[in-house]
Each structure stands twice: as structure tokens, then as C-alpha cells.
């Protein structure tokens, strides 16, 4: 029987993989993907809690849909920024995107 704990365990692993990727990778695209992982771990949490604790309600589902929508929008904006950065400096290394730094 797969219970709430299993879901939480998966989501936790997913979350820390995301954090690890975000902190270690220098490639912006990879960092963006890591963010998606973090968001999805949150989604799993919502769905799992909704199903196991409040089975007759849909709040967790709504939150998940919102998060997916926002993640899509965020990915679109972020990729647009990255493309522009690439056009300007021919690099998508996060360390090198420092032209705004004082």
C-alpha cells in the first residue's frame, strides 16, 4: 500500500535534487529546469495532501493548476531573458551575466 509518506518522500527527493541543481549548475537553462523540479515537488505535495487528508475537497488541485500555469509563464519569460542575454554576451553562464553589477 502506497501511503502519504511515500509521496512526501518522492517530493522531498525531487525538491532537493532541484535545489542541488540550482546551486551547482552554471548553465541558466539547467537552472531553469531545476526550478521546474522544485515547483513540481510542491505540486506533488499539494496533490498528496489533498487526496489523503481532505479527499472531498479540491483546493490542492486548484493550487496545482495555478502553479503549473505560473510555471509555464515563468519559463516563457525566463527563456526570453536568456535568449537576449545570449544575443548580447554569447553566453548563458550565470557567472558571466554581471553587466548590471556595480
Amino acid at each position: 500500500m502506497i501511503g502519504l509518506t511515500h509521496f512526501l518522500f518522492v517530493s522531498c527527493i525531487l525538491f532537493f535534487i532541484g535545489i542541488y541543481g540550482f546551486l551547482t549548475r552554471r548553465n541558466m537553462i539547467t537552472m531553469l529546469m531545476s526550478i521546474e523540479l522544485i515547483l513540481n515537488s510542491v505540486n506533488i505535495n499539494f496533490i498528496a495532501f489533498n487526496k489523503f487528508l481532505y479527499a472531498d475537497k479540491l483546493d490542492g488541485l486548484f493550487f496545482t493548476i495555478f502553479i503549473i500555469t505560473i510555471a509555464a509563464a515563468e519559463a516563457a519569460v525566463a527563456i526570453a531573458i536568456i535568449i537576449n542575454l545570449y544575443r548580447n554576451s554569447h553566453s548563458i553562464d550565470v557567472e558571466e551575466a554581471d553587466i548590471m553589477k556595480f
Binding site: I19, F22, L23, V94, E95, D98, K101
Partner: protein
């Protein structure tokens, strides 16, 4: 009765001419501005005379008392249901008298300036300023509430500043304008505080209500007399502070120092502002609040009386020693205003005892005529001689006969020789002083003699003494005579008025309570002052009719007194000492030190500390995204640990 819109035109016409000249005329038709200003003033004058006739003979009197009429009223600022500032026109005997004086003298000055200021570079500007000044003064005398009078009071101050500093390329004129403005502003501070005290306790700004509440036994009167500060009641404080404002404008001791310097302005302006109209604003103010002074607070009136007599005497002695003819006239103005002040001061309200009030207003009226005449005459002389100094003059009687005759008339009038105008008003003043205050009477009568002496010293020095020699240096010649007719006609008109104005039965028109005050003429009483005045004239004649060493010997004989008076009793020096040495050193410098070191120091210290700290922690702001994320994540973990394990 004239319709209210026509009455409102009296002050509004000059301001229209000011706006028109300043905005359009100065640029497009500068040489017609003088005529424009003069015509608008002429209409104003005609309207003022009509209003005066209507008021005094047709509608003003109800029963046997002159009423106060509110001719026009609208609310200007409504602060709350109880507190509002109105703009209104108040007609009563003194305001009606004042509009006639102001428009008359202003008209004469406008007309005279057509000749005097001709060819002046800023001719049009001059006329626009005259319009502004006339408007302010008319607004001041017609004000129906104490706040309105304050607004116009300041406007008068501004326009006098502009006119004194008219020749702004002369440093002395600029200094004089600033001096006049600063001293009167300083006095106006007292006025403002006085207004606040009086209106706070009486709960109104309106003159009629204020006077009514503060002269009859009401709660307001009770409160204002029982509230006390430094041993004086609030009423006394209020009235004395208001009087300080009046003393500043009227050049009373010790705030008189600006008046002689104000002679830097064009001479017709001196005639208008510093002789006939603006300087009597202080007298007018005291007269306006006279019932409050006289009925509720006689000690304040005592202050007025003594300040008046001291100024009068001091100015008369200084006038004897000055050599600049306009300065002599300035000090004589101060002396005569002092006369009006102490006449108010010795008076009381109503009936027989209101003689001083009536005499003061009468003297204000006659003084306006002959002092304007004196200044305009002096203007003609200066126009001709191109100098203000007595030593450059002399023997002008044959060269300028009309100026000579009119100047003589004015001198006789101010000296109080019958039947000229000054005699009658001065006589009433002396009688009033005699009835109620003997010491003041004695000083006043001595001052009258000195007045006669210095006026005739002036007269003989200008028109007799030595023969006139035109300056050969500046190519000026003696043949252009008296100046154009525009300058002579005002002299003649004012000369006739100086002769005739004394016969106006003032007791029937302007009295403290609006009732008829029968004045009797006491020939026996008049003997002493007239003889003293004649003695002064005689002394001046022996000294100055021909060049003689006598005046110099006399001056040497009383050297100490003479030098002191010549230096105007060192009052200017005392002011300089107080401001430069005491205030600058004891207040100014410590304040500047405090500002530079303590105030600035605190701010600098704060800035330094902030700078130091930010320098220390600047490494945190690396600009590396992943570093930030790591901090953030560490923070979140820390919170989780705290909330999960310790916070329970």
C-alpha cells in the same frame, strides 16, 4: 448715497491703473502712463468727495450721531462657521475723511509728477507703483476688520519699499528701502501678535463687533482684562502691541530711524508716502481702535501719549540741526505725527473729553495739506538747484516766486500762525493737552516754538540768506525758472487749502463718538503758543535771513547738545551697536556655531556611521545569484529548524 459699486471703484481705479500700466502700458504706451494714472486718480477723487458729501450731509447722520456704514461686504475666507475673514468697506467719519485726504494728495502728486518725473527712464513704472500705493492706502482706511487692515498694511509697506528704492542704482536708496522695510516689518510683528491677542479674546475680527465686545461689560472683556502676562493684562498687551505696529509705520520713537532715510525716493513720493498718507496709518489705527483704548484701557493710551510727545520733541530738536532740506521735512513730519499721537493719547472717549481725538484727526487733515505742499515745494527747489543741501541754496525768492509764496504759506501753517490751517488744529491739540496732562502740554508748547524756528530756518536758508549761484560745473543755468505748470498748479491748490482748511468745522464732522463736539475759540489761550511760534520765527529770521556768524556761534556755544542732535541722538548708532555688536555676537555667532557644529555634526556623524557599516558588509552583495539562493535556502532551513524543534 452712491451705489456700492461706485464706492468700491475708489480703491479699485488706482489698482486698475497699476495693473494696466504694469502689464501693458509700460511696454506699448509709456509716455501716456502718467496721464492714465492721473485720470484714474481724478475719478477716484471725485467719487471720494461725492461719498464724503453724501456721508457727512445726507445719510451718515442718524439722530445726532454719525453711523458706521458697511457699504460692501463679502466673505473672503470661511474657516469655520464662526471664523471668517471678510472683505468689506466701512464708512465712518475717519475713513471718509481719510479717503478724501489720500485721493487728494495722491492726485496732486500724480499731477505734479507729470512735470517732475518727465523724461525719467522708468516713468511708467513710477506711475504703476503710485497706483499700487494709493490702492493699498485706500484699502487700509476702508477696512472693516482687523485682518483686512493687516493685509493692506503690508501692501502699503511693500509699495513704500518699491517707491523708496525707486532709484535702485543708488546703493543708498537700496539701503534706505531695506531699512524701511525691515524696521516696519519688525514693528508689524508686534501688530500681528496684537491682532491675535485681541481677536482671540474677543472672538471676532470685525472692528464693530470687536469694539462693542471690548468696551461694554461682556465675558470677553472680563476674560481679556483678567488674563495677565508679566504683570500686564492681555488687553494692555494687545493694545500696546498693536500700537507698536502703528508706531513702526508712523515713525514714532524709537522706530523712527527709517523715515529720514526714506527720503531717498523721488520727492513727490516723499510728499505722498512720508508726509501725508502712509505715516499717518499708525495714527489711523489707534483712532480706529480708539474706543477700546479710551474706555477699557487708559494706561495703554498713556503709552501712546508719551511715545507721541517724546517723538515730537526729539524730532523737532534734530530737525534744527539737519542741512538736507528733505531730512528737515522728514523730521518735521515725525514731529507732527507725534503731535497727532499724543493728542489721541490725552483724549478720552465721548463728549467734551473727546477733544483730543477730534484735534488729532483735524491735525491729520491740515497736516496732510501743508506737508504735501512743503514736500512738493522742496521738490521744485531740488528740481531747480539739483541738490538737497541748504548750502547750495539761498536767494531763490526772486527766481521762483510761486514756489516761494506757497512754501511760505506752508511754513506759516505748520508753525501755527493764524489764520493758516495748522493754527486751528494745533490750538485744539494744545487745549486738549492742557485740559488733561500738564507736563505733555508744556513739552508740546516748547515743541511748537522749535517747530516754528526750524521751519523758518529752512525757509530763510532756501529763499533768502545769500544770492543764488548756479553751479557752473554741471553746465546748469538759472534761466529755466520754476518748472512747468503741472508742477505749479498742485502747489497753488495745496497752498489755498493750507490757508482755508482750518476753517472747516471739524467738531461737527469727526469726533470720537460721532456726536457734535462744539469747539470754542479761546483767544486768551492762543496768545502763548502764537507768541512762542512768532518768537521762533523771529529767531530764525535774525539767524538766517542774511548770512551771519550768529548761528555758528550759537551752535558752538551749546556744542554738546548740538552735536548730539546733529547725530540724531545717536539712535542709528545705538541700533547698529545692538544689532552688530550684541545680537550678531551674542546670538548670531553662537547660533551659527551651533548650526555648523552640532546640527551639521549630528548629520555628518550619522552619514559616517552608515558609510562605515555599509563598507563592512558590502561583500555580502556579490551579485552572484547562486550565492544569494544558498543564503536564502540556509535561512529557510534555519526557520524550519527553529519552528519545528524549538518553537513548540
Amino acid at each position: 448715497m452712491l451705489s456700492t459699486s461706485l464706492i468700491a471703484l475708489i480703491p479699485l481705479l488706482p489698482v486698475f491703473s497699476f495693473i494696466l500700466i504694469a502689464l501693458v502700458g509700460r511696454k506699448y504706451f509709456p509716455s501716456y502712463c502718467g496721464v492714465l494714472g492721473t485720470i484714474s486718480l481724478l475719478i477716484s477723487f471725485i467719487l471720494a468727495v461725492t461719498v464724503a458729501y453724501d456721508y457727512f450731509f445726507l445719510v451718515g447722520k442718524v439722530g445726532d450721531t454719525f453711523q458706521q456704514i458697511i457699504a460692501l461686504k463679502f466673505t473672503w475666507l470661511q474657516f469655520s462657521p464662526n471664523v471668517a475673514i471678510d472683505m468689506a468697506i466701512l464708512l465712518d467719519p475717519i475713513s471718509v475723511m481719510m479717503i478724501v485726504i489720500v485721493t487728494l494728495v495722491s492726485l496732486m502728486v500724480h499731477f505734479y509728477s507729470l512735470g517732475y518725473m518727465k523724461g525719467e527712464e522708468r516713468y511708467a513704472t513710477y506711475y504703476s507703483f503710485l497706483g499700487l500705493f494709493t490702492f493699498s492706502m485706500l484699502g487700509l482706511v476702508l477696512s472693516s476688520n482687523i485682518f483686512q487692515i493687516y493685509i493692506f498694511w503690508e501692501l502699503v509697506g511693500v509699495s513704500s519699499y518699491l517707491l523708496i528704492g525707486f532709484y535702485f542704482d543708488r546703493p543708498s536708496a537700496v539701503a534706505a528701502a531695506q531699512k524701511a522695510f525691515i524696521i516696519t516689518r519688525f514693528a508689524d510683528l508686534g501688530f500681528l501678535v496684537g491682532i491675535l491677542i485681541l481677536s482671540y479674546y474677543s472672538g471676532t475680527l470685525d472692528f464693530q463687533t470687536l469694539i462693542m465686545r471690548l468696551t461694554t461689560p461682556t465675558d470677553q472683556l472680563h476674560n481679556i482684562t483678567t488674563a495677565s502676562f508679566l504683570g500686564m493684562s492681555a488687553l494692555m498687551w494687545g493694545l500696546v502691541l498693536v500700537f507698536i505696529g502703528g508706531a513702526g509705520k508712523s515713525a514714532m520713537f524709537p522706530l523712527h530711524v527709517w523715515l529720514p532715510d526714506a527720503m531717498e525716493g523721488p520727492t513727490p513720493v516723499s510728499a505722498l508716502i512720508h508726509a501725508a498718507t502712509m505715516v499717518v496709518a499708525g495714527v489711523f489705527l489707534v483712532a480706529r481702535l480708539f474706543p477700546v483704548y479710551a474706555i477699557s484701557c487708559p494706561p495703554a493710551l498713556e503709552v501712546v501719549a508719551w511715545v507721541g510727545i517724546v517723538s515730537s520733541f526729539l524730532a523737532a530738536t534734530i530737525a534744527c540741526t539737519q542741512t538736507d532740506i528733505k531730512r528737515v521735512l522728514a523730521y518735521s513730519t515725525m514731529s507732527q505725527i507725534g503731535y497727532m499721537m499724543f493728542a489721541l493719547g490725552v483724549s478720552s472717549y465721548g463728549g467734551e473729553n473727546g477733544l483730543g481725538y477730534m484735534a488729532s484727526m483735524f491735525h491729520l487733515f491740515t497736516h496732510a495739506m501743508f506737508k504735501a505742499l512743503l514736500f512738493l515745494g522742496a521738490g521744485s527747489v531740488i528740481h531747480y538747484v539739483h541738490s538737497n543741501e541748504m548750502k547750495d541754496m539761498g536767494g531763490l525768492r526772486k527766481l521762483m516766486p510761486i514756489t516761494h509764496i506757497t512754501f511760505l504759506v506752508a511754513c506759516l501753517a505748520i508753525a501755527g500762525i493764524p489764520p493758516f490751517a495748522g493754527f486751528f488744529s494745533k490750538e485744539e491739540i494744545l487745549q486738549a493737552a492742557f485740559q488733561s496732562n500738564k507736563p505733555i502740554f508744556i513739552i508740546a508748547i516748547i515743541t511748537a516754538a522749535i517747530t516754528a524756528f526750524y521751519m523758518f530756518r529752512l525757509y530763510f536758508n532756501i529763499f533768502w540768506n545769500k544770492d543764488f549761484h548756479a553751479h557752473s560745473t554741471d553746465g546748469h543755468d538759472a534761466h529755466h525758472g520754476e518748472g512747468p505748470g503741472t508742477m505749479l498748479i498742485p502747489l497753488i491748490i495745496l497752498g489755498l487749502l493750507s490757508i482755508g482748511a482750518g476753517f472747516i468745522p471739524f467738531g461737527k464732522l469727526v469726533t470720537s463718538d460721532g456726536k457734535w463736539l462744539p469747539t470754542e475759540f479761546h483767544p486768551t489761550f492762543s496768545i502763548a503758543p502764537v507768541l512762542l511760534a512768532a518768537g521762533g520765527i523771529f529767531l530764525a529770521m535774525t539767524f538766517y535771513k542774511k548770512q551771519s556768524p550768529a548761528p555758528q556761534r550759537f551752535a558752538d556755544g551749546i556744542k554738546g547738545i548740538y552735536t548730539t542732535a546733529y547725530h540724531k541722538f545717536y539712535i542709528d548708532e545705538i541700533y547698529l551697536f545692538i544689532t552688530k555688536k550684541i545680537i550678531f555676537n551674542l546670538v548670531g555667532r553662537p547660533a551659527a556655531w551651533f548650526d555648523r557644529n552640532i546640527v551639521d555634526g549630528t548629520m555628518n556623524l550619522l552619514a559616517t556611521i552608515t558609510g562605515k557599516i555599509s563598507f563592512l558588509i558590502r561583500k555580502l552583495q556579490s551579485g552572484k545569484l547562486q550565492q544569494y539562493t544558498a543564503y536564502f535556502f540556509a535561512g529557510v532551513i534555519a526557520f524550519v529548524v527553529v519552528f519545528v524543534y524549538w518553537w513548540t
